[in-house]
C-alpha cells in the first residue's frame, strides 16, 4: 500500500461566530476571529490517498487527475470566497477549520475512484495552525 499526497490551496474570508450567542459572548470565546466584518487566510489542503501501484502505469492514481477532482469539487467552491456566506456545504455550520475539513472530506469521498481510498486530509489555516481528518472509522 502506498500513500500519495496532492497539495492544493485556496484563499478565503471567514469569521468564527455562533449566531445563537451575543456579540459579546462571541468576542469572549473567539476573540479577534469573531470580527463581524471578516478576516481571511491562505489555506493549504493536503489530500492523501492510498492504494496499490497499478502494474501498467506504476501509479496509485494519476496525481493530475486527483488534482482535477480536488479543484472541481473543493477548491473552486472555496477559492476567493467567503466561507460563511458563499459555500453551500458550510451552510449552518460554524466556520472553524475542524468543521471545514469534515465538509471537504464529505465533498471528496463520492468522487474518489473505487481503486483507491481517501486516507487523510490535512488543512492549514496558517503556517502555524492545521487540522488532520481521517474520516469516521
Amino acid at each position: 500500500m502506498v500513500y500519495i499526497t496532492r497539495i492544493e490551496h485556496f484563499n478565503a474570508a471567514h469569521k468564527l461566530y455562533n449566531p445563537r450567542w451575543s456579540k459579546e459572548k462571541n468576542e469572549e470565546v473567539f476573540g479577534k476571529c469573531a470580527n463581524e466584518k471578516w478576516h481571511g487566510h491562505n489555506f493549504e489542503l493536503y489530500v492523501t490517498i492510498k492504494g496499490i501501484p497499478d502494474i501498467e502505469t506504476g501509479f496509485v492514481y494519476d496525481a493530475k487527475k486527483l488534482s482535477a477532482i480536488i479543484k472541481e469539487h473543493v477548491t473552486e467552491k472555496l477559492d476567493h470566497k467567503n466561507l460563511n456566506l458563499d459555500v453551500d456545504f458550510m451552510e449552518g455550520k460554524l466556520c472553524s477549520i475542524e468543521n471545514l475539513v469534515i465538509g471537504i472530506w464529505e465533498q471528496l469521498v463520492p468522487h474518489i475512484p473505487p481503486s483507491i481510498e481517501l486516507h487523510c486530509l490535512k488543512l492549514y489555516e496558517t503556517p502555524r495552525i492545521y487540522v488532520e481528518y481521517f474520516g469516521e472509522k
Binding site: 478576516h39 481571511g40 476567493h80 467567503n82
Partner: protein, 137 residues
C-alpha cells in the same frame, strides 16, 4: 570599509479584502479584478518583512534593537490590520484599493514615521507564497 548591515524582521497578519474600484460598477470590477472582487470578500495570510540598512552602533552592536523594531511593527501595523477587513475596517483603504502594491506603500509610510530616517528601510509584503511586492522598488 563601511560596516553597514541589513537587518530583517518578519511579522504576519491575517486579513480579508476585496479588490474594488468605487468609480466602476460591479460588472467592470468583476471584469478587471475577477474573483478577487467577490463582494463577500476573500482573505490572506500576509507575511511582512521589514529590512533596515545602517551602520552598527558601536555601543550596542545593533543596527536597531530587533525587539524595538518588532514592537513598532506590532503596534503600528499588526494591531491595525490583523483579523480585519482591509476595505471595511481600515481607514487607510476607505478610498484606496487594497492591492498588495497599495498595502506595501501604506505600511512603508506608516513605519517611516517611527523608524530613524538614517536607516534605509525596504518593506516586502507576501500576499501568498507566490505573490509578493516590495517598496521602495
Amino acid at each position: 570599509m563601511s560596516n553597514k548591515v541589513a537587518v530583517y524582521r518578519k511579522e504576519h497578519f491575517n486579513s480579508a479584502h476585496r479588490l474594488f474600484n468605487a468609480d466602476w460598477d460591479d460588472e467592470m470590477n468583476k471584469k478587471v479584478f475577477g474573483k478577487c472582487s467577490n463582494p463577500h470578500y476573500h482573505g490572506h495570510n500576509y507575511e511582512l518583512i521589514v529590512k533596515l540598512v545602517g551602520e552598527i552602533n558601536p555601543k550596542t552592536g545593533f543596527v536597531m534593537d530587533m525587539k524595538l523594531l518588532s514592537d513598532v511593527i506590532q503596534e503600528n501595523i499588526i494591531e491595525r490590520f490583523d483579523h480585519k477587513n482591509l476595505n471595511e475596517d481600515c481607514v487607510e483603504f476607505a478610498q484606496l484599493n487594497p492591492t498588495a502594491e497599495n498595502i506595501v506603500v501604506t505600511i512603508y509610510n506608516i513605519l517611516s514615521q517611527h523608524i530613524d530616517p538614517v536607516l534605509k528601510m525596504t518593506v516586502r509584503l507576501y500576499e501568498t507564497e507566490r505573490n509578493f511586492v516590495q517598496y521602495p522598488a
